[in-house]
Point group: C2
Chain length 179, copies 2
Amino acid sequence: MPRKPVARDAVLDAFEALLIEVGERAATLDAVAKRAGVSKGGLLYHFPNKEALITALLERLDLLADEDTALMKAAPDGSAAYFIRSSLWADTPMDRAFVAATRLAEVAHEETRRRFAAIQQRWLDVLAEDVGPDVAKAVSYMGDGLYFNAIFEGGQEGGNAGREADVDILLGVLDRLRK
Amino acid sequence: MPRKPVARDAVLDAFEALLIEVGERAATLDAVAKRAGVSKGGLLYHFPNKEALITALLERLDLLADEDTALMKAAPDGSAAYFIRSSLWADTPMDRAFVAATRLAEVAHEETRRRFAAIQQRWLDVLAEDVGPDVAKAVSYMGDGLYFNAIFEGGQEGGNAGREADVDILLGVLDRLRK
DNA sequence: GAAACTATACCGTCTGGACGGTACAGTAAA
DNA sequence: TTTACTGTACCGTCCAGACGGTATAGTTTC
């Protein structure tokens, strides 16, 4: 059998990292190839064009979102608490894929926007089972707010420190709403 | 006496509109000029380069944010309720400037990010006076969440219909937290 | 079991177009 | 006459994608 395509994953990881750190504009094919330690030709062998790169990223996102939804449902202290905690940037594969995809949605990439809407809806449904439809909405928007802020920090480690305290505050507010 | 610079505002409005509707990538100088009904030479007469265009947009945002903060403080039913209501996309000058600037922040424009952080902090301070620091955080994140979603709708009229009901729900949740 | 062949996994270079910006000559209103 | 433009021509750079080539691993044929 032929060699294993080691470059493929490296390229996708590099694309994701550049989207998070420097935005869509700077995530050029050259930059992605360089970061992945691959030639541009090698990149284009696996992903014939930039759209293919995006498609692959969205598939990764869908996969991770499915896993995450399952964990959310099974969370011992309820899906709402899990959701708030997981909305904080923690550099997990899910976080990375989500924020990276966000950058594409910002650039008016329609398919990405549709995927986002679908994922959000699924989350909302799970939340509603835990805390009812109204509080679910509130929790959903709080989570979006946390992501909104993560977006502006560009995947840095630093920003978390202050935000972790915010998560505790939000969990406290959630407890008040549970009664 | 000289003529009034009618093109200047038209250019800034066009830049804003393109950022909202098609993202930073597509908001090229040529596209902005065309949309504003101005020649490229005319555009560059007022804004010597793209950075100047961005600077002007951020100044507009700061101005509008100041006005908005004042209205927020004076809101009869409290600044928190005002904040939630105003976080829904309503195509106001403030909404437009905010979402347009968001597109720049996404592209890792540091100055824009700094401005955002400053505006958010001011809002948070005003909210805390109304509902205390903890609920203020929750309300702040809900507002960010609403903006987060507005970002993905690209300034369309349609999305609002569903979201207006959400605002009522969030106001209801806020009332529960006030007690 | 070795040559001949095939498929996969890349590398490096090139091109055409877009984009930011410059330059400048001309025009029209105040 | 100054200010506020229009319009065109042009330059350097960057970028997506095309393309031709190479290396390696497995497969077939004799």
